[in-house]
């Protein structure tokens, strides 16, 4: 009951966030210098053609009217046409988004699992050599942008050692699974195409790890700090003093309260994965959404820009709601506060 109410409240709130975001991106993309129609048609296009396309896209109308057209379209699921691909933006998104989501999900899992694992080990054995190793690597991970890792991995494991493929999502000799979700790993899993599954995972290792390292280092640092802090708490001494086995104390009574700050940060880090994905996608020639988005911005492809930003906004809002739910599940203090309507 309390959780449902909490969820409903967050959803209503999210609608306003997304509405605000849409107004903002709509204005910014139109205020920027440069004529999108002229850019799309090229300098030699006749004036009447430019005028015609402008009318077709309602660009000759005042801004509020333009926004009204855009919003009413968007609510029907029509995000307009791209000025460059000359296709419905929604189709472009359907094509490019799954590739990025797949990459980001794998990177997110790597980030969460290994970040928490390394952080927990470092925190449990704080100020020993293993802690120092984790801490040094996390510093490096936090300060290094993911494209640097991407280039290093590409050179080292791709070219020099040749352990991993350097580009794309599948090897050319592998039979592609039919497009169901658009995520190659999921599609090949559904159709039982094990060769494609293995090949897709093999292609994903380098870009996903390169993308995950920054967030992973962040999670490790936060988990380490909370674990080593909570290790000194009386409730841990008390549980041990009552003869509860060490392993149970560590894996249950220490880990659960220590995960709360990490999970809160995890949501933010996952959202920033999508932003960081651009250069990584470029380096590994990954036909993803971030690349599509950057190109849209460079070409001032108005509808595509708005759509990309809105999709990212929806992902961001969804991830944050999920994180809040997980935190509420972990922490009764928050859950009970929410139930009391605070």
């Amino acid at each position: 009951m309390g959780i449902l109410k909490f969820l409903a409240k967050r959803l209503v709130f999210s609608v306003f966030v997304l509405l605000g975001l849409s107004i903002l991106i709509f204005l910014i993309s139109r205020v920027l210098p440069g004529d999108p129609v002229r850019m799309a048609l090229g300098p030699r296009a006749p004036e009447w053609a430019v005028q015609q396309l402008r009318e077709q896209m309602h660009l000759d109308k005042p801004l509020p009217v333009q926004y009204y057209y855009w919003l009413s379209g968007a609510l029907r699921g029509d995000l307009g046409q791209s000025l460059f691909t000359r296709r419905a933006v929604i189709d472009d998104i359907k094509e490019f988004l799954p590739a990025t989501m797949e990459l980001a999900l794998f990177a997110g899992v790597i980030m969460a699992v290994f970040g928490i694992l390394f952080g927990a080990i470092a925190g449990r054995y704080s100020n020993t050599w293993i802690d120092n190793v984790v801490r040094i690597f996390s510093y490096i991970g936090v300060v290094t942008p993911s494209f640097v890792f991407a280039i290093l991995f590409l050179l080292l494991f791709g070219y020099l050692l040749g352990w991993f493929p350097t580009a794309g999502r599948l090897s050319p000799w592998i039979q592609r699974p039919p497009v169901i979700t658009g995520m190659v790993t999921v599609d090949s899993l559904i159709t039982g195409n094990w060769a494609a599954l293995g090949d897709a995972l093999w292609h994903m290792v380098l870009p996903a790890v390169a993308l995950a390292l920054g967030g992973m280092a962040q999670e490790a640092r936060i988990t380490r700090a909370t674990i080593s802090d909570n290790l000194k708490k009386d409730y841990i001494a008390s549980a041990k003093g009552f003869g509860v086995p060490e392993r149970l104390v560590m894996l249950k009574y220490l880990l659960k309260p220590s995960l709360i700050p990490t999970v809160s940060i995890l949501g933010l880090d996952f959202a920033s994965l999508l932003g960081n994905a651009f250069l990584v996608e470029l380096i590994f020639n990954w036909p993803g959404f971030s690349r599509y988005g950057i190109n849209a911005m460079l070409r001032k492809d108005l509808n595509a820009i708005a759509a990309v930003v809105m999709v990212l906004g929806v992902v961001f809002v969804t991830v944050n709601i999920l994180v809040d739910l997980v935190v509420a599940w972990l922490d009764p203090r928050i859950r009970l506060g929410a139930e009391r309507g605070k």
Partner: protein
Amino acid sequence: MGDVLLDIRDLYVEFKVYEGKLKVLNGVFLSVREGQRVGLVGEAGCGKTTTMKCVLRILPSPPGRITEGEILFRGEDILQMPPRKVQLIRGRRISMIFQDPTAALNPVFTIGDQLMTVIRYGSRNSLPKKEIRQRAIKALQEVQLPDPERILASYPIQLSGGMRQRVCIAMALSTEPELLIADEPTTNLDVTIQDQVLRLLNALVERRNTSVIFITHSLGVVREMADWVYVMYAGNIIEGGPKEELFREPLHPYTRGLMRAVPKLTGGGIAEGVPGRIPDYLDPPSGCRFHPRCEHAMPRCSQEKPPFLPVTGEHRVACFLYQG
């Protein structure tokens, strides 16, 4: 009095900090007999809790380290036991109530989860789930908590401070230990319920004839709860003996100061107290750690550490005033 249950002999503990080593315990002697209720008195920071954490081997380490000494429980040294054996003593034979019940209860698990885990690992033979639950309910009833079923399903934040401490008492007694260590169990409670909780605890241990170490900084509490008293100062036990004797004739200058510090209802004026404060553990005073604050200090006091020796009968003191 019965056999010696716990015997702490010459215990030294250091804490490693950035600036160096804190020499916190400086040769602690303390013993508890079967059925005895021992009061351990001393200022905040004198090492009472540290000593007790050593008994259960739950001193956070690092930074803490036991450098010397023995802790004999029924003649066996807890400090030399393999972890598996210590595990069998914790909870089952010795259990501890912490000073702050809010800190001692895990905030993200229900009372039921925590209490039932304690009962499960504190019983000698493995019990079925239903039996564990029944024992948990009985334990909560014994500490006079209303509606035990609801409390089992509650999280610590849903209870008041007094209720939380009753839960901790229930946990500590649920396993029927031979020795209960109660570390200032009422200090963090409202004054109005301190007395209630004390009386409850007293009644429960009396009924079971559990041996108790009662840590406090209040002489009033000791007078009410204990039949034997140890006084601690800066990591040393400086005086110990039967309660009546110690209150009638305190020997150590520090104990006498403590007694003078108790405010009286009649007579007026502010109580005297002991001038100065607990020394720095990084660089503690040489010899007797109390000598810089002592009005009877002699040259010898800063050179040698006074041994803890009997003066009359079982009344022991660590002071050169009483040692030729």
